[in-house]
Amino acid sequence: MDTEKKKKKKAAAAAQEAAGASTKLPQHLQDQKTRVFCASDAPTYQNVSYSGAYMASRIDDSLNMADFVKNLKVEIKSLTEEEMVFDIIGIDPAIANAFRRILIAEVPTMAIEKVFVVDNTSVVQDEVLAHRLGLVPLKVDPRNFEYRTEADNATEKNTIVFRLKKRCWEEGPKGAETRVNEKVYSSDLEWLPLGSELPPDEETKFTAFNAPQTAPGGQPIAPTHPDIVLAKLRKRHEVELEAHAVKGVGKEHAKWSPVATAAYRLLPEVILKEDIRGDEADELVRKCPVHVFDIEDLGPDGKRATVARPRDCTLCRECIREEGWEEKVALRRVKDHFIFSIESTGALRPEELFTEAIKILTDKCEKVLADLF
């Protein structure tokens, strides 16, 4: 009876071991699943999207919300008013790319769309000047405004009006004149909270507002940067115009894009497959142009190379170019570790832009869901 019990116990233990082992993929498959290999000739990226792909190893690769919540990590690396870098760990490229695409093309901002030129005797043609005005980033929260269609009249809720009036002249004694107002700057755009001052027009619908526009924080609405040169003037040249800014998205025109750049890269991973000591360690440190490697002093045992700054690795592969080095150093990227960097043009802070982008993706889902019912 004892032996029978033992047998049973043994069988149960074996089954448990088998079950335990089956929850982990063989190492080479696990590496293939989670890493990009950057060999000296070309990188290898194996993308398996089907949830049942690892069923032979009894691994269910389906999306489990509880696991996702457990594994997701966000780490802010740097954050300023204009720029931020953060890591998102535990997310798929499909989702990360959706956020990136939305940041560039679908988060709205305000930009100058209509320019009414009263007078322009500068060398910059009206249409060129209008285009330059359109590209000027404005420091104003687009969430306080509504979209304006062609049929809508301009109101304080959908249009911001700027006036630009500048004339150049010369001063001083004859022969030694100095030019005044030589350049038209973005700071010359003067916000008109009461709307257009031009006579009402049926076709263009640029009229004065019914109520004055208010600027949050008491600061007048203005371009983010005051020092953008829009045009250069000479004696008796004059620019007088009215510029109307409306809400829009980057996929219609890049001037509405709220980001200068929104990009991600995968976390580089540098692995020393064997101990690299002595002169070889010095050589490795010398090889790397971005100084990923450091020397560790082992006292009487000499010195050893260490991977000190893997994040700086650009995967230039200089360290594995020479014959024999690929067996010593492995360059990889972690597939689900995204280093995001967002550079704002100034309308919203970068962290606000990212939350707006997530909201837009959620809204898309909800819109399609509503259509399905």
Binding site: S51, I95, E366, V368, L372
Partner: protein, 116 residues
């Protein structure tokens, strides 16, 4: 072919509801690829793929074939899963930003104490 809502067309067979192509108007790779990922990670899905038929037409087609469940149900749950996922990323991101700002706020005070 059945018109479900304003921005959505479904193409499939009346007899077989396990295979449907959902055609989403005014959407592109942003939603198409995200949905493809979520659907492929659903064990009820036998096949899923998406395509943008023409770059100047604002439309994306998402094909869903299931192992028996109604493709519509699976597609719906993928959409709500994606929304839930987004909300979680948002919460995690906002928490991280808050913590980072708190850390940044504390640091200068410590420096002041040291200089005293």
């Amino acid at each position: 072919m059945a018109a479900a809502g304003a921005g959505l067309t479904e193409v499939g067979s009346e007899a077989d509801n396990t295979a449907i192509t959902f055609s989403l108007k005014d959407e592109d790779h942003t939603l198409g690829n995200a949905l493809r990922y979520i659907l492929n990670k659903d064990p009820r899905v036998a096949f899923c793929g998406y395509s943008v038929p023409h770059p100047s037409e604002q439309r994306v087609n998402v094909r869903v074939q299931t192992t028996g469940e109604s493709a519509r149900t699976v597609f719906k749950s993928a959409l709500s899963d994606l929304a839930v996922l987004c909300n979680h990323v948002k919460a995690a991101f906002e928490k991280a930003v808050e913590e980072h700002k708190a850390e940044q706020g504390v640091e200068p005070i410590e420096v002041d104490e040291e200089s005293d």
